[in-house]
C-alpha cells in the first residue's frame, strides 16, 4: 500500500450547497501532507468523509486501503483524529478524556502520554469546561499522538496554540516523520507550519483541489520577483511572455517573472549590463494568495 488516502472526484452536497466538487486528494504512506484552503473551502468536510462521519454523494474515497464509510470502526483503530473545533465533556478532566479516547481507539502508550503532557505543559486534572481553546487542543493532540496509529488526521491543530506550543507541536510532528511509518494529513492555513513540516501539499478552493505537489513543484508554478539596477538601456524585456508588472525608471527595473521565463529575462538583463540584482523566490503566501484571490473572479 503506497497511498494512505486516495480520494477521487469526491462530491458532497448539503442541500443546495455543493461543499465538495470533484475533489481529488492523494496522500502517500509515510508522508506529512499539507491540506490548505481558506475557511469554508471544504477541508473539514473532506476529513469527515474520510472518517466515515459523512457519506459522499459521488466519487470514491479509500482510506488505509479500506472504505471509510463501510469499514469505519475497523479503520478507526488505525488512525487518530484531532477535530478543528475541539470541545470535550465539561465534567471530565483532560486526563480522563485522553485515556478514554485512547481506550476507545484500542489502547494508548501511558509513557508516551505522560511525556506528551509534560512537553505540552498540560494540566490533566482540570475539568473540560475550564480549559481554554489552546488547552483543549493540547488535550486532543496528546490523545491523538499517544496512540500508536498509522495515520494522524489533524484539522487545524495549532489554531489555538501559543508560539511556544506551536514549536513543540512541530518538533513532535518532525519526530513522527523521522520514524517514517506514520502518515499525517495536516489541514492548516498557517503557511510557515506547512512549509516547515510537509513533504507535499494540496490546496483546495471551493471544494476542489486546485494545486497539488511538493513545495518545490508548487514554487515552480509561481513567479519570482526581480529587481535590478542596469548600466545600460534594456530592450525587449516587456515582450518576453511570462514577464509581468514591469516598471522601469532611471536604469532600475522591477518585474515578476514566471519560472519558465526566468532564463530569457535574465539573459536580457545581462545583455544590458547588471550593476545589482535582487531576486526574491516565491513564498507560499504568494502562492496561496494567488489561488485565493483568483477565486473571487
Amino acid at each position: 500500500m503506497t497511498e494512505a488516502i486516495d480520494v477521487e472526484g469526491l462530491v458532497k452536497r448539503f442541500g443546495a450547497v455543493t461543499a465538495l466538487d470533484q475533489l481529488d486528494l492523494r496522500v502517500r504512506t509515510g508522508e506529512v501532507h499539507g491540506f490548505l484552503g481558506p475557511n469554508g473551502a471544504g477541508k473539514t468536510t473532506t476529513i469527515r468523509v474520510l472518517l466515515g462521519l459523512m457519506r459522499a454523494d459521488g466519487g470514491t474515497a479509500r482510506l488505509l486501503g479500506g472504505d471509510p464509510w463501510a469499514d469505519a470502526t475497523a479503520l478507526h483503530r488505525r488512525l487518530a483524529y484531532v477535530p478543528g473545533d475541539v470541545t470535550f465533556w465539561p465534567q471530565l478532566t483532560g486526563g480522563e478524556v485522553i485515556d478514554l479516547l485512547g481506550r476507545l481507539r484500542g489502547g494508548l502508550d501511558p509513557k508516551r502520554r505522560d511525556a506528551l503532557i509534560e512537553r505540552f505543559e498540560l494540566d490533566p486534572r482540570k475539568k473540560g469546561r475550564t480549559y481554554s481553546k489552546g488547552n483543549r487542543q493540547k488535550v486532543a493532540l496528546v490523545a491523538a499522538l499517544s496512540s500508536d496509529v498509522e495515520l494522524l488526521v489533524l484539522d487545524e491543530p495549532t489554531s489555538g496554540l501559543d508560539p511556544l506550543m506551536e514549536e513543540v507541536f512541530r518538533e513532535v510532528i518532525l519526530e513522527e516523520k523521522r520514524r517514517g511509518d506514520r502518515t499525517v494529513l495536516l489541514s492548516s492555513h498557517i503557511l510557515s507550519e506547512v512549509e516547515a513540516l510537509c513533504d507535499r501539499l494540496t490546496i483546495i478552493r471551493a471544494g476542489r483541489a486546485v494545486e497539488t505537489g511538493t513545495l518545490a513543484d508548487l514554487r515552480h508554478l509561481t513567479r519570482t520577483t526581480i529587481r535590478a539596477e542596469l548600466t545600460g538601456p534594456v530592450n525587449g524585456l516587456a515582450s518576453i511572455t511570462g514577464v509581468h508588472g514591469l516598471t522601469s525608471e532611471d536604469g532600475r527595473v522591477a518585474f515578476d517573472v514566471d519560472a519558465d521565463a526566468l532564463e530569457p529575462a535574465l539573459k536580457t538583463l545581462v545583455a544590458a549590463g547588471v550593476r545589482s540584482l535582487i531576486s526574491q523566490p516565491p513564498s507560499l503566501e504568494e502562492l496561496f494568495l494567488r489561488h485565493y484571490t483568483k477565486s473571487e473572479k
Binding site: 462521519l53 457519506r55 469505519a72 483503530r77 477535530p83 475541539v86 465539561p90 480522563e96 476507545l104
Partner: protein, 519 residues
Amino acid sequence: MTGTGRLLRLVLRRDRWIMPLWIFGFGILPYVYIAGFETLFATAQERVDYARVSAANTGFIALYGPLHGDSLGELAVWRGGFVPLMIGLAALLTVVRHTRADEESGRTELVRATVVGRYAQLAAALIATAGASLLMGLVVAGTMIGAGQPVAGSIALGVVFMLSGWMFAGVGAIAAQLTSSARSARTLGVVALGVSFVLRLGGDVSDDREFLAWLSPIGWVHRVFPYGENNGGPAVLALVFAIVTVGVSAYLLAHRDMGAGLLASRLGPATAAASLGSPLALAWRLHRGLLFGWTAGFAALGLVFGGVGSSVVQLAADSGGVDEVFSRIGGSGAVTDAYFATTAAVCGLIAACYAVQAALRMRDEEQSGHAEAVLSTSVGRFTWGASHLIFALLGPAVALLAQGLLAGVVHGTVGPVLAASLAQLPAVWVLAGVTMLLVGTWPKMASLAWGAIAACVLLLLVGSLLEFDQWVLDLSPFTHVPHLPGGTFTPLPLVLLTAVAAAFGGVGLLALRRRDVPR
C-alpha cells in the same frame, strides 16, 4: 443597565416565534375550557353535580388543585390548574436561555465587551419574560370577559397567570447565577418547579397538611380562587416572591465573575479510572447525574403521594359530605384507587420527560462535537446510540420503581401502587422511541419530542373534556395504559406499546447509522 433596550430587542427577535406561542397558547386556554364546559353541560344542575363530584375526587384535586365553587368560571380555572406550572416552566426556560446559555456559549463575552452594562442582559431577559407574562394575563382577562365571565374574576385569573410567569422568571434568574452551565441552571429551575408542585399537591389533597401548599409558589396562585373568593393575599405573596427572587439574582450577578457560577470548579483526577474505557462507561458518566437527580425527585414524589394517600378518603368525605357522591365514584376504596391511578399517570408523564431528556443527550453530544470525537475512534454509531438510549429506557424504570415502591411502602399497600407506576413504563418507552426516531431520521427537529410530550399532556387534560374522537385520544400512548389500581389489568396493550417503542427505537438507531454526523 446601559444597553438594556437594545438587548431587549435582541431577546424579542430571537424569541419572535416561541414567545407568541406560549403567550397565546396558555392565554386562550381558559376560554377553551369555558367553551368546552358550555357544550358539556346541558343544564346548570349538571354542572353543579359535576363540580360536587370533582371537588371530592382526590385524583382530580391532585392533578388540578382544589375546587371551591361550581360556577363556569371556577370550573374553567380549576381544570386549568396545571397551566401555572407550564407558564412557570416557559418563563424560567426563557430567562435561562437568554442569560446563562448565552454566557456559557461565549456570546455574552462578546456582548459585554460592547457598551452594555453589567445588569443589561439579565434585565433584558427579565423584562421580556415579564412583559410576555403581562401580555398573556391581558389575553386571559380579555378573552374571559369577552366570553361573558365576571370582570373581577377575569382580571384575577389574568393576574394569576402573569404572576406564575413572574415568579419563575425570578427562579430562573437565580438558577442562572448559581450554576455555571445552562443545563444545570435549567435542571435547578425545574427542580424548584417540581418541589412547588409536590408541596401544592401534598397540601391540597390532605386536610391536616394544608400548610404545605402555603410553602409553594404554585400553591399561592391556586389560592387566589378567581371567580370565587378572588383572594388578594396570595397574589401579593406571589408578587413579593417575584420581586425578591429578581433582587437576589441581581445581587448574585454583581458578586461573581463573568462565566463563573457561585460554585467553583475543582481539580479532578489526572488519569481515567480503569472502568472508563467503553461507550457505555462514558454514557454512565454523562447520565448518572440525571439518573440520580430524577430518581431522588421520584422518590420524593413517592413519599409525598404515599404519605398523603391515607388522608385522601377523609378529604373526600369532608368536601363531598354525602354518601351519594361516594357511591357515584365507587366507594371509599375507589377514592384511594382513583387517587393512586392519577398520581401514577402524572408520574408516567414526568418520567416521559426524563426519557426524552436522556435520549436527547445524544443530540446534544452530536451538536457540541463530542460525538465526533467518539465516533472517530473504533466506536460504531449503533453502539454509541444504544449506549445513550439504554439510559432513556432504564432511567425512567429506576425512577418509577423508586416512586412506586416508596409510595406503596408509606401507604401500606406496595403491590397495587407499585404496579400502577410500573404500568406506565411501556408508554414512557414509546416517547423514548419517538425521540430516538427523530434523532435518527430528522435530527434538526429532534426537540419535537418535547412537542410529543406536550401533546400527550394536552390529550390527557383536555381530550375528554373537548370530546375528541377516540382515535385522537388513542394517539397518546398513555391512553392505552391500564387504569391501575382499580381497573382491570390486561397485558396486551403493554406488550403492544413495548413493541411500538422497540420499532421506533430500532428504526431510529438504524437511521442513525446511515446519516451524516454531525448533521
